[in-house]
């Protein structure tokens, strides 16, 4: 018995010494040219697939992925954040990217393998040791669905052409803020100082948003100030669809009078710019307003304690009514 233990202890000692030598003396070759030993790739890839399948969110959490605004937003983000590795549909990945180990799959190949909820998990979490990064704003898994919507559209070959993001910085902003509704706000009704402040907050993470953090990080600091003025409204007015007048009435009552739990919105968001505390929200797209209210309600946005306190008691129906009311209110 004693001999068995002794043998095991000696073997363990050799093993430990070997491990120290490999790590400490750099014996393991990390060259990407060498590749993995036979079987290792299979083990890694199978682990990857099963890990994603196990953790993917339920599709019940997903918004309507066929929403053209959502697809367009996802496409715009994809154009700057994802094309460097995965390429645009129908285009080639650069030779350098193809030389990565593991090589990032081309978008056409990537979407073929995964269901939407699995794509959501991958885009949100990234993949360890593969070069695939996680979503830049940890709390904003809601934004990830826009990219998933675009990828799902690519899968059925129904995706819009990617916007051209190679022009000047201003045209880069207007690509979304003047041509899209949905979750993208219009900027023409916002004060330049307010826009500048929010851009700073997107950059430093105070206002978490993966999409806007990516966009703001591409803007040279010197050009920031020039970006805060000179926007025009949306090309089309999207929120004119008929809506239940009872819902609208409830939204108006909440906005004007509030309740014993909910402060009046217009005390900070009404009136002229010089005399109000908050940004203009009248005329913003309905989907944008809804998402913003949910973010303040959930405390994901918390930089302004007043707005967080104001949204804390909002119910889902309150949010719907307020979004319907303010999106139809003339700016």
């Amino acid at each position: 018995m004693r001999r068995v233990f002794l043998t095991l202890a000696v073997l363990a000692g050799f093993g430990f010494a070997g491990a120290v030598a490999v790590v400490g003396l750099g014996l393991y070759n990390v060259s990407a040219q060498v590749g993995h030993w036979p079987g290792v790739s299979w083990v890694l890839h199978t682990t990857f697939r099963n890990s994603v399948a196990l953790r993917a969110p339920s599709m019940e959490d997903a918004p309507d992925l066929s929403d053209p605004d959502l697809i367009a937003l996802g496409a715009s983000h994809y154009a700057t954040a994802c094309t460097p590795c995965h390429a645009a549909p129908g285009e080639q990945r650069s030779a350098t990217m193809q030389a990565m180990v593991p090589a990032p799959p081309h978008i056409d190949e990537a979407v073929a393998h995964w269901k939407p909820n699995e794509m959501h998990w991958i885009v949100e979490n990234g993949i360890k040791m593969s070069g695939m990064p996680a979503w830049p704003a940890k709390e904003r898994d809601d934004e990830v669905w826009s990219v998933v919507a675009y990828l799902a559209a690519v899968k059925v070959e129904n995706a819009p052409t990617l916007p051209d993001v190679t022009g000047d910085t201003k045209s880069y902003c207007t690509a979304c803020h003047e041509r899209m509704g949905g979750r993208v706000p219009r900027l023409d009704i916002l004060e330049p100082d307010y826009i500048a402040e929010k851009l700073r907050e997107y950059r430093d993470g105070t206002r978490p948003s993966g999409i806007m953090a990516q966009a703001a990080s591409l803007v040279p600091t010197g050009e920031m100030a020039a970006l805060t003025t000179g926007f025009s409204g949306r090309a089309t007015d999207r929120d004119v669809a008929d809506v239940d007048p009872v819902l609208l009435g409830r939204g108006e009552e909440l906005a004007r009078r509030g309740t014993r739990d909910i402060p009046t919105c217009l005390a900070c968001h009404g009136g002229d710019a010089a005399n109000r505390r908050g940004p203009a929200i009248a005329g913003q797209p309905e989907a944008f307003l809804k998402v913003q209210m949910e973010l303040w309600h959930d405390g994901i946005y918390d930089a302004d304690p007043l707005m967080h306190a104001a949204a804390r008691e909002l119910t889902e129906e309150d949010i719907e009514a307020l979004a319907a009311y303010f999106s139809r209110l003339q700016p």
């Binding site: 009078r257 509030g258 309740t259 014993r260 402060p263 009046t264 005390a267 007043l306």
Partner: protein, 341 residues
Amino acid sequence: MGARSGEYGSLRRVDGIGAPFFVLGLPLFLSACSGRQSALDVAGEDAAAISLLFWVMFGAACLLWVAMNGLFFFLSRIRPGQFPDRYVQPLLIGGGILLPTVLLAALLVWGLGLLPDQRAPGDGLRIKVTGEQWWWRVEYWPEGAEAPVVTANEIRMPVGERVEFLLGADKVIHSFWIPALGGKMDMFPGRETRVSLRAERTGVFRGQCAEFCGASHAWMAFETVVMEPDTFDAWLEAEAGDALMPVEGAATRGAALFLSQGCGACHTIRGTEAVGQVGPDLTHVGGRLSLGAGRMGVSTAGFTRWIGHTEALKPEVQMPSYDFLSTEELDDLAQYLVGLK
């Protein structure tokens, strides 16, 4: 035996020191009986009834205490071991069963008899009080009124009239208690309870939430001002009116700040654009005796402190501290609010 006598000796010494302390300390204890938040410093009919019940019970308890200890002393020290058996049964039945039954039944009947008085119909004025975390929403409904006079954190009532209080609560249970005027009554979310009070002398009495209701329960109080009926009517008429428009520089700036900082989202100041319902109505806040539901007195310095450090002064309060405002801005706001008489 020596050890035991030693114990007695030390006990006696303690008594010897304790007695003068007790005599000297008595006025200190008794001083708690007077004051504006004391059930023993009676200012109302209902408090008087409760107070009488208390003193009778207290007196009887003293008598019983003396009798029981006297009996014990007699049996253990004066005639130890000589209690005749034939007295045992009558004493047990008489003193242990009959006497407490009769006394407690009498107290119960007396006490229960006081209960209907708590809800005696009023003389006309009804005041609806809602317990919030941690302040009081107050509505005056004079007889025949179609809309209430809304105010907060202070009760005013005419002397000599029975006023009916309709009590409710927003989220958690509170309890409405003005000790100098009467008994307390719990306030429940979703249910209306009633209590009626009749003040017998004018003065200012303190009310306090008497049911633990969260972090700032102890800071949930209010002043009750009992006034001559004429003065009260004049006050109520003024209270029903809109807020005074400020005329002087700082207060005018404060009024503009009040709106531009969004204060009106939660507070109403009648006659202005501020129509929020979340927090206390501030239309005449400068005319009140306390600020922050009994937290501090009304003064410019008080308002400045309150607005700038709300969360420190009242833990877990819903109102955020406006610590981002400059000293000048806070002062302007305070000037405005203090002028809202």
